[in-house]
């Protein structure tokens, strides 16, 4: 994704009366960005956070999106009153927005992909198959657009952040991160 972000010139940017943050910043980074832009309308990537909690705390947050685990240029975008403007801003950054009406921690696609990637790492760690065969099996057995390892490559840290968020919010062991995945993420 770093390469894609670079190509699309994505980062923290200001356009008209909007401030846009599409980075994979920490919680403190996100809060700092919102506080610094309290006089603007903010569009923020919150793939690794609970968007509902951010909306509640920061009225300047007008739209939230999830670009960080996209394997193409499509992303989920949620906005109560500013969807069209926010979608236009994302389009200028190279993203095609698809409206999400319901809010979810980790959104829909990143959350699902994170759990698939986690299981792929458990499967690899338990020597059920090698990574290439796991990727191939998911593509040619059930038509996945990309194998889980290829999907996560270079973005393992984001996958871990999504799973940790879900574990923290749901207190459910299904979100415990594979030690192999966590190790891989720490190498990035």
């Amino acid at each position: 994704m770093a390469a894609l972000a670079k190509k699309l010139n994505v980062g923290s940017i200001h356009m008209n009366n909007w401030a846009i943050d599409l980075t994979n910043g920490s919680y403190q980074d996100k809060v700092h960005f919102l506080e610094k832009n309290s006089d603007k309308m903010v569009l923020m990537d919150l793939t690794c956070f609970d968007p509902t909690a951010f909306y509640r705390r920061f009225p300047q947050l007008k739209a939230v999106c999830s670009t960080l685990l996209s394997h193409n240029t499509r992303c989920e975008l949620h906005s109560e009153n500013h969807f069209t403007e926010a979608a236009q801003l994302l389009s200028e950054k190279g993203f095609v927005s698809v409206r999400a009406s319901f809010l979810n921690p980790g959104f829909v696609v990143p959350r699902t992909i994170a759990t698939i990637v986690n299981e792929a790492f458990f499967t690899l760690d338990q020597q059920v198959a090698n990574a290439d065969d796991i990727d191939r099996a998911m593509i040619f057995g059930v038509n996945y657009p990309k194998g889980p390892f290829a999907w996560a490559r270079g973005r393992e840290k984001i996958v871990v952040q999504v799973l940790d968020l879900l574990y923290q919010l749901k207190n459910d062991e299904r979100y415990i991160v594979s030690s192999m995945l966590r190790k891989q993420a720490s190498l990035i």
């Binding site: 959104f107 759990t115 059920v128 065969d133 099996a137 990309k146 299904r174 415990i176």
Partner: protein, 274 residues
């Protein structure tokens, strides 16, 4: 699924014989395969010469009428452990010790199935898990049992790769690769919606297609496969992997099954098909 597998072999110009307890069933399957090939000739995807050859390569016979030196026998019968084991014991007596035995099971350990045959045959026993429809889906999971002789799975892996399949070599563990890793695709969607809500299911399906790039969303796919089948696979993998939380069936799945809402086949699943 046996018919689809036999059809695929014939399409590779390899002689294939369909066997079933019910000979009417095999005759019907062969008629259907012939008709699908004829349609491909009409669409100019195959020549009539190719189809004539393929028709000669595919036949139906009783097990007892099969050549003892058959290279490979693939079992693809009902997912019932006792019935499968009984069949393998019968096959073991009929075929030469060189014949390779394979099961297309999606749920039983290969090693457990192999225990129904002689110790020598166990060396020539492995899993070959095809995906439906076998003529179109390229994956074959090649599964080594505990006693499978070194090199046999790799040999079949290479053979399938040469014949336009996309094989994946895997250990004899519950769900193998696909039925294990794919559980999250459904399990997470169920945890996102939590309760029955057709509008929410529709949105999850749409986002998985439009943003994720999947051909179908999890709810429409569960309705197509059968909510009951999906629940049974999830429960079986969950049980076999020590009731690990990652595979816990969702209460909504069970509720749908209890209500008889199995999806398209009952005209009601996560969506209505009335």
């Amino acid at each position: 699924m046996g018919a689809g597998i036999a059809q695929w072999f014939a399409q590779q110009m390899i002689p294939a014989v369909l066997c079933d307890n019910n000979s009417e069933q095999t005759k019907k399957a062969i008629t259907q395969i012939h008709s699908s090939w004829d349609k491909l000739v009409e669409k100019e995807k195959l020549t009539s010469c190719q189809v004539n050859q393929m028709k000669q390569l595919l036949e139906a016979r009783e097990i007892t009428a099969l050549p003892k030196d058959t290279t490979l026998v693939i079992e693809a019968i009902i997912e019932n452990l006792d019935i499968k084991k009984t069949l393998f014991a019968k096959l073991d007596k009929h075929f030469s010790i060189e014949t390779i035995f394979a099961s297309n099971t999606s749920s039983f350990p290969i090693t457990q199935l192999a225990s129904s045959v002689s110790s020598n045959r166990q060396k020539r026993f492995l899993g070959l898990h095809f995906f439906n429809p076998a003529t179109l889906m390229k994956l074959v999971e090649v599964i080594k049992g505990q006693a499978t002789q070194a090199g046999l799975a790799e040999e079949l892996y290479a053979w399938f790769a040469e014949h336009k399949k996309e094989p994946a070599l895997c250990a004899d563990t519950p769900g193998f690769i696909v039925n294990r890793v794919a559980r999250s695709f459904y399990g997470e969607a169920l945890r996102i919606v939590e309760n029955e809500n057709e509008v929410y299911c529709k949105e999850v399906d749409m986002l998985m297609r439009e943003v994720g790039g999947f051909k179908m969303g999890p709810f429409e796919l569960m309705d197509l496969i059968g909510v009951d089948i999906n629940y049974a696979v999830t429960s079986s993998v969950w049980e076999a992997l020590g009731k690990n939380a990652r595979f816990t069936p969702h209460p909504l799945q069970k509720k749908m099954v209890d209500l008889g809402r199995f999806g398209k086949k009952t005209k009601r699943g996560f969506y209505s098909y009335e």
